[in-house]
Assembly symmetry: none
DNA sequence: GCGACTATCTATAAGCA
DNA sequence: TTGCTTATAGATAGTCG
């Protein structure tokens, strides 16, 4: 009779794969997929891109157009205020520090944007909830509470982060 | 008569998209896809990864875990002959600073993940609201508004954080 | 670890809001 | 730019060799 050669692709949860073999296989396949995506993005949109990844075994693996180094250099260059360029040979500490601060700033900007977007979505949902007339939504209630708890944690994390930044900045200034 | 709501996804050739608008849209969507893939690879396989890409407009955009810089540094370290190790002690201050900043970067990454998780939950809630069509949802409404207030606070915190980072960065540059 | 294969799952092109 | 929808193209989990 008919056999089932394969169940086909199964849905998986995005969390660490515990089985080492599976993790390794997944890594190989997805790394290839990621590199391909990068390549396509590069060709389709004519942009520069670089990916650096470390295998589970800790070996570096990378791809870049025109090259990893050129992209990384351009990245550092872009994150370095132009008036620092004259003292390029002074790169040592200040510039590295600056890069990190700039990056942090950039990430925070992105977070801000996301929060803003999320806020707007909340407004929409609120309106929907008001307009709608639901019942038998116990499960939705649970979800709502989870989300709320998460937001509390998130807020706390942000506060810690801010405190850390301020403190660190103070330390730097003392030097 | 029957209309054609959409032809759905069309096959495209992997070559530079000439139409500028389309190229820009494609870039935005695929960059998001690529970043997501990187994030999944990172979580599923527990590896470090960084992507640096420049928008068609030339602006740098990046993602990295634990941070772009830490991955780039590790990459350089791996590609750097050991004779650089001798001057380790020269990094005394810088290294401590770097570690601290890396921690902050990591916190930022985690926050990003949390925001992402929140976004996903929102989608679930949204669908739930759409799917159901009952009434008396006042509790959900409260939750929604509470969350909204939290988001406002969160946004304010982030703005302060960013302002602090920018200010400190400026001060450092003056030195 | 590397391909091959299949059945699914996921990403996304196109068009519009 | 970002979101949403539809319908399809592309990626990949599970399995075998």
């Amino acid at each position: 009779m008919a056999k089932k050669p394969s169940l086909g692709r199964q849905k998986i949860e995005i969390k660490r794969i515990e089985k080492e073999d599976s993790r390794q296989v997944c890594f190989s396949k997805r790394r290839a997929g990621a590199f391909k995506k990068a390549s396509e993005l590069c060709i389709l949109c004519g942009v520069e891109i670089a990916i650096i990844v470390f295998t589970p075994a800790g070996k570096p693996s990378s791809i870049g157009h025109p090259s990893v180094d050129s992209v990384v250099n351009r990245y550092h260059y872009c994150n370095t205020p132009s008036f620092n360029l004259g003292s390029k040979n002074n790169f040592s500490n200040g510039t590295l520090r600056m890069n990190r601060l700039c990056e942090l700033n950039q990430q925070c900007s992105e977070l801000l944007n996301q929060v803003e977007a999320e806020k707007n979505r909340r407004i929409v949902i609120n309106k929907a909830v008001k307009a709608g007339k639901g019942d038998r939504f116990f499960w939705a209630q649970e979800i709502g509470e989870f989300a709320l708890n998460d937001l509390r944690d998130l807020k706390a994390s942000m506060e810690n982060l801010r405190a850390g930044v301020v403190k660190r900045a103070d330390e730097i200034l003392k030097v």
